[in-house]
Amino acid sequence: MNLAYRDIRHNLGRFLLTCVGLGLLLGVVMAMIGIYRGLIVDALTIARAPNVDLWVVEARTRGPFAEASRIPGNTREAIARVAGVAAAGSITYQTVETQHQLKKLRLYVIGYEPTRPGGPPEIAKGRNIARSHYEMVADRATGLVLTDRIRLGRTTFTVVGLTQHQVNSGGDPAIYITLPDAQKLQFDLAPPAQRVQLARGKGGAILDTVNAVVARVQPNSSADAIADTVRRWKHLGAITQEGQELILTRSLVDRARRQIGLFTTLLLVVSAVIIALIIYTMTMEKLKQIATLKLIGAPDRTIIGMIVQQAMALGLIGFATGAILIFNIKDFFPRRVVLEPDNVVVLGLIVFAVCLVSSGLGVRAALKVDPATALGG
């Protein structure tokens, strides 16, 4: 005869409604954790996409994500020749806004050399860029589909491949085009501006500029050592992949990360208080029954068991409701919500602990009940 179960069954509708309410709250907590994780994952996605060990950028900058970085296009050849470097590729990054089918699109344009490091990590649909101009690989989050044609600057590109989850730290979906196309898009002057420059006796814009050179090092080589070598060239800076990720998480998204982290902590505290209040109220409503149980000889463990089991059931059902809810709606969020199993397990353990501690309030109230309360009206 499980008293907790029987009491829940007796007030099933109200209990389930309470669980759903708690579930919604825990769902919000999970969503915040997911958004927090998503922010970090998004911030790292583009930096991890080239799958490289070293970032060569403009000297004294922390580019190309945290700061602007411009280096000559021929830097790649120099880096490729450094001992220990297995492969190197030039890369550019820029954000553009365009229109497609009357819809405004903000795109994070990545220019790369198709045969070198820097391209999309994998193609989910279609193929990689095979021509040197006018083809693009777009992330699915852009809403573009294969064969779509989209105008960027003065050039129209055709979507030949699709990637997944490739967005920058601001949540803008990425598109990949060839380096020459990207350079033209980023550095080429519009014809009127070019004419002004020519009239002034200056040449056109220098197109062969890149934002960074990415490099993979040989298995027996150290990225740190190569970075030190590169830094000796006064006009270049070098950041290891680990350093780049640290810049992204500690600098670029740090404030947003801390803001969401703090909000998530607050939500967890609010959830804990609400759980405690629910359990306390549930116990207070049963004081007469608890007094009767004590009077007829029920030991403390029976009463404690009833309260703790109900608290656990509340937490478990609430947590499951929240998890089911958030797993079903997470893809509808405009930014990525990343819920990894370990996050869910940790939150589950926190909810478990909160329920256990919160039930202490109810248990304390129950143990203080005088059995004599059962006597009299």
Binding site: H10, Q289, L295, A372, G376
Partner: protein
């Protein structure tokens, strides 16, 4: 019929006193109360509000410490000089005492059978046997047909019978009743009292009831009246101030 006063009393109170507070705020709820209650006796505690009836019931029910005096329950000395001699009062209640309340106090989330069976379950009887015994008791009290009903589905009389079954489930020798018929009409009150008396006879138990219900006074062997914490009779010698005899 007056129950026998021969043999050993089931409840023996010797100069039990209980006060609350000290100094100017001191309230003497019980003053040197001595009572003997014998098997098969049905006793009423009467008195105006604040006279100490409930305090006395709480002391006998092992839920309130007396300030002084001694008490024996079913031949076992449980209080000496105002101090409990047993640590586990809950077990003492479970072993020796059954409670019947004014408003039945059935657990609303258990059906009639389990409301009775829970007492047996608490003593370690397996749930199957506990339910079997509970149904037997409910049948005996003529509410067996309501064994699966929840308390909210029972009438006042049915609920009080289930409460009586619960009080008797563990075959206690002392049954304490707090206004057991207050929520019942006179006909049902009479039936319940007759039932309690019958059970007291059959189980060789004693029933002590706090009541204001004049319509059932004739169902008691003795009526002890309390006033300002004092017993208006020398109960230890079984000469109550008011004594009614049922026929």
């Amino acid at each position: 019929m007056v129950a026998s006063t021969k043999g050993q009393p089931l409840v023996h109170l010797n100069r039990i006193s209980k006060h609350f507070g000290e100094g100017e705020t001191r309230v003497d709820a019980l003053r040197n109360v001595s009572i003997n209650v014998y098997p098969q006796q049905v006793i009423a505690l009467l008195g105006p509000s604040g006279s100490g009836k409930t305090t006395l019931l709480n002391v006998i029910g092992c839920i309130l410490d007396p300030s002084s005096g001694s008490m024996e329950l079913d031949g076992e000395k449980v209080i000496e000089d105002g101090a409990w001699l047993r640590g586990d009062l809950r077990q003492l209640r479970l072993d020796k005492i059954g409670f019947i309340f004014q408003f039945h106090n059935l657990l609303p989330f258990l059906d009639a059978t389990d409301n009775v069976a829970i007492v047996l379950k608490l003593t370690g009887v397996d749930i199957g046997r506990a339910r079997k015994r509970a149904i037997e008791l409910l049948d005996y009290l003529e509410v067996g047909h309501r064994k699966n009903a929840m308390p909210s589905q029972l009438s006042g009389g049915e609920a009080q019978r289930v409460a009586i079954a619960r009080a008797l489930a563990n075959s206690p020798r002392i049954i304490l009743a707090d206004e057991p018929t207050a929520a019942l009409d006179s006909k049902r009150a009479g039936i319940v009292m007759d039932l309690m008396r019958k059970l007291a006879m059959e189980q060789d138990a004693a029933i002590i009831a706090v009541t204001h219900d004049e319509k059932i006074f004739d169902r008691f062997d003795h009526i002890f009246e309390l006033r300002d914490g004092r017993l208006e009779s020398d109960a230890a010698t079984d000469t109550p101030a008011v004594e009614k005899t049922s026929t």
